[in-house]
Amino acid sequence: MEATALSFFIACVTAAGFGIAIAAFGCGIGQGIGLRSAVEGIARNPESSGKVTVTLLIGLAMIESLCIYALVVALILIYAHPQAGAIAELLSH
């Protein structure tokens, strides 16, 4: 029983690690493309920098939230998976 709970936990934690890494990778690329367009817009028209900056920040927060969803799933995998009770007893003695 303890051995299966432990191997389940190992699988969950590995999945969490890879999951958030891939999400951060995609998020980085997406935000980089958005940022490039914003900086090009400011370079081409410096007077619009206020509006462009506000729009950029809103867009970055939206893209960031996709990575946050993956983070929440990773946290669920580490802390709230079905064998969490068994693992808690295992690690507490």
């Binding site: 920040l57 809103i58 927060a61 939230s65 946050i68 969803y69 983070l71 929440v72 946290l75």
Partner: protein, 229 residues
């Protein structure tokens, strides 16, 4: 994960409600935020003059900024929404910033607080839709042509539920992630001021996330108020 030291939880322990305080720190800290906001509002509204003093000026900038931004997006007919969305912004911003004080826990780092804010916004969207369009509000969910209704209606319904999920999880994930990183850095290298850059980022994230919640609320209200396409 060791439990952090929380001032108000210790306070409640002294007066004997320790058990409640340990299980629901987000409730206690949302009371703290309410007390702070009501206190500020009370002192700000005491002396209201035509030529504003410094304190009144700060509040006028804040509230008129929020109101003009919202009215800029929804048009003049959206002006009556200002109390609700200004409250949402100020409450969430204060909740988020409270987490930066050592010994305080941000209420928005718990899914219950953020889900309650998101639920308010989503239910109010439907109230606005019914108020402005009556029974014709259902046309917002039915799509452009009548024979696509069996496909479009479930997709729109799921889209509305996804708004609830995305609003609550975005705010919760940002705040919880910030708290977790702070806890881990304190455990690793707290004596060397390692968490300080994360706290600086935390100020930025707190304000941006409150603004994004406010902006999305205004956009949802606006899409409920306009005519169906």
């Amino acid at each position: 994960m060791e439990h952090p030291y929380l001032f108000f939880v210790k306070l409640f322990e002294i007066i004997g409600l320790g058990d409640f305080a340990h299980h629901y720190p987000h409730v206690i800290y949302s009371w703290v935020v309410m007390a702070i906001l009501i206190g500020f509002g009370f002192f700000a509204a005491k002396v209201v003059t035509l030529v504003p003093s410094k304190g009144q000026n700060v509040f006028e900038i804040l509230i008129s900024g929020l109101e003009e931004f919202a009215v800029g997006m929804t048009g003049e007919e959206g002006r009556w929404l200002t109390p609700l969305i200004a409250t949402i912004f100020i409450y969430i911003a204060t909740c988020n910033l409270l987490g930066l004080i050592p010994g305080f826990f941000p209420p928005t780092a718990n899914l219950n607080t953020t889900a309650s804010c998101a639920l308010t916004v989503v239910v109010f969207t439907h109230i606005i839709g019914i108020k402005y369009h009556g029974a014709g509000y259902i046309k917002h969910f039915l799509g452009p042509v009548w024979w696509m209704v069996p496909i479009i209606f479930p997709i729109e319904l799921i889209g509305h539920l996804a708004r609830l999920l995305s609003l609550s999880f975005r705010l919760f994930g940002n705040m919880m992630g910030h708290e977790l990183v702070l806890m881990i850095l304190f455990g690793l290298a707290g004596a060397f001021f390692a968490p300080l850059p994360i706290m600086a980022l935390g100020i930025f994230v707190a304000l941006v996330q409150a603004f994004v919640f406010f902006l999305l609320s205004v956009m949802y209200f606006q899409s409920a108020m306009e005519h169906a396409h």
